[in-house]
């Protein structure tokens, strides 16, 4: 079996001030292996965004442990530093995640420039063109444009290119298709499939409320409901043999 990259154990998280405190995650266990696509599925308020942000070290759990490649990310610096350098993020709204004053090429190149080990500028340029090509965009025509000149689908593909430019071991995509027109979502899914083919060891975590959009790409699905793991399993098995009434409602909601 492939290496476990990320492992979360017994994760609890609450938000809000004393008195109005609300627990959003209850003893959640989850692991993410190299090369797999894990979909984290649930309705609004299920805790899926909070869980995955905790896994990627963007938020801290109240209790429980997150290990990245065997290092507890809350202890010492090494685990969190490795995770930061080896992860990429794609969010829901591409226009608010791209700096409007930066050209596409500069936005995509930024993660490379932030690395401690600098690449020569020709190599940066080449890598930017390579990743833009991977998501179906032409660097020569789009690289010098600003986000305002892009369609929603193009902007989201730029965000995907930026997420993988520094060859991360794990990419988190949080509702990356929700703000995208239905007809264009297929292109975005194709872009995710392309980046997985280009690096078969990269793990992809896709957060979504919609089973329909992840069914082709996810190897495994984790269903969260009101902060608890409802069930998890390989995609085909979960879709065909779910024992959970909540999962069945999600399946029904994603059916034509």
């Amino acid at each position: 079996m492939a290496e476990i990259l990320l492992q979360g154990s017994g994760i609890n998280k609450s938000f809000g001030a004393r008195g109005a405190r609300r627990q959003v995650l209850f003893d959640v266990d989850v692991d993410v292996r190299a090369g797999e696509c894990l979909a984290v599925i649930g309705g609004s308020g299920s805790g899926k965004t909070t869980l995955t942000r905790i896994l990627l070290g963007l938020e801290t759990a109240d209790s429980g442990v997150v290990e990245y490649r065997g290092h507890n990310i809350a202890e010492g610096r090494q685990g969190l530093r490795m995770l930061r350098e080896e992860s990429g993020l794609v969010f829901q709204d591409p226009f608010s995640s791209l700096d409007p004053r930066w050209r596409v090429g500069s936005s995509v190149a930024e993660p490379l420039k932030l690395r401690r080990k600098k690449l020569p500028s020709a190599a940066v340029k080449q890598r930017v063109a390579e990743v833009l090509g991977l998501v179906g965009l032409d660097s020569a025509t789009l690289g010098s444009r600003y986000p305002i000149d892009l369609s929603g689908g193009q902007a989201q593909r730029v965000a995907i290119a930026r997420a993988i430019v520094a060859k991360p071991k794990v990419v988190l995509a949080d509702e990356a298709l929700s703000a995208i027109d239905v007809a264009v979502r297929v292109q975005i899914l194709d872009a995710f499939a392309a980046i997985r083919r280009a690096d078969p060891d990269m793990a992809l975590i896709m957060v979504s409320h919609d089973l329909g959009v992840v069914r082709h790409i996810a190897d495994r699905i984790l269903v969260l409901h009101e902060g608890r793991v409802e069930e998890s399993g390989p995609t085909a098995r979960l879709l065909a043999h779910s024992q959970s009434a909540y999962t069945r409602r999600l399946i029904e909601a994603a059916s034509l």
Binding site: S44, V182, R185, H216, L239, A240, L250, I251, A253
Partner: protein, 264 residues
């Protein structure tokens, strides 16, 4: 209320937005308008509501319940809209006034357009709230205390409180999660049918469209490219644009067989 649109052209500045639009909605019919972002769907809805932006100009004919809306003066239009039309918007959190309670929000159209006593208004608001499936305790809540689905229920209550004859729903489910989307579509269609009202339902999603409407129009780049029974269109789209939207909907939904569930 029936709607008849003929040769509608809308331009903003010198830019044509939609051209030569013909469209009909029969009394009591639920009709869909589907197309990609930027295809001009919302502009047609705005023309129908008399809410086109100030720099837009429209020509052609838009009749609702027999009244000509193109060139109608603002007072007549406001009266027609207030009494006979209800609107449900995409982002319920933004459509609700953040400083008014649910009760005040839902009551407002009655205060503006009907001569009813306060107790009569409150009674209607209570009844409406239960119709949209919200508990009475929601009356005193503010928008920030509601979930997205609850806020959209308030949006629907506000749209339907005046018993309008035409409901215009512009992407009412796009901002909601998949399970909540279903609930809201089913709620809206059953309330519209119970009231015998007509509905224009705007979306970019054929899967939602199939559930909400019986007939639909496909708009691309400002032109109507196809129309027909929604079920037929899903099975046999004729134009390339409609095929693309249907293919996307199919790609992104589970097939019945695939979703066949073994009940334990």
């Amino acid at each position: 209320m029936s709607v008849e649109i003929r040769n509608l052209n809308i331009t903003i500045g010198s830019k044509p937005i939609v051209h030569d639009i013909d469209m009909d909605i029969a009394d009591g019919e639920r009709v869909g308008l589907v197309g990609s972002s930027g295809s001009g769907k919302s502009m047609i809805a705005k023309a129908l509501m008399g809410l086109l932006p100030a720099n837009a100009s429209a020509d052609g004919s838009v009749r609702a319940g027999g009244a000509q809306l193109i060139g109608a003066n603002d007072t007549d239009m406001a009266d027609l809209r207030g009494r006979y039309m209800g609107m449900v918007f995409q982002n319920p959190a933004a459509a609700l006034n953040p400083v008014t309670t649910v009760a005040q929000q839902v009551e407002l159209p009655l205060r503006l357009h009907y001569d009813l006593s306060a107790p009569e208004r409150q009674e209607r608001v209570k009844t409406m709230l239960s119709k949209v499936g919200l508990p009475e305790s929601a009356l005193g809540k503010y928008p920030h205390e509601l979930s997205g689905g609850q806020a959209q229920r308030v949006g629907i209550a506000t749209a339907l409180i005046t018993s309008p004859r035409l409901i215009i729903a512009d992407e009412p489910t796009t901002a909601l999660d998949a399970i909540t989307q279903r609930q809201i579509v089913d709620l809206l269609t059953s309330l519209v049918d119970d009231a015998g009202a007509s509905m224009l339902f705007i979306t970019h999603d054929f899967a939602v469209l199939a559930r909400a409407t019986t007939r639909c129009y496909v708009l691309e780049d400002g032109a109507m490219v196809e129309s027909g029974a929604t079920a037929d269109l899903l099975d046999h789209p004729h134009t390339e644009q409609a095929r693309k939207l249907v293919a996307a909907a199919r790609e992104l939904t589970l097939h019945r067989q695939e979703a066949e569930v073994h009940h334990g």
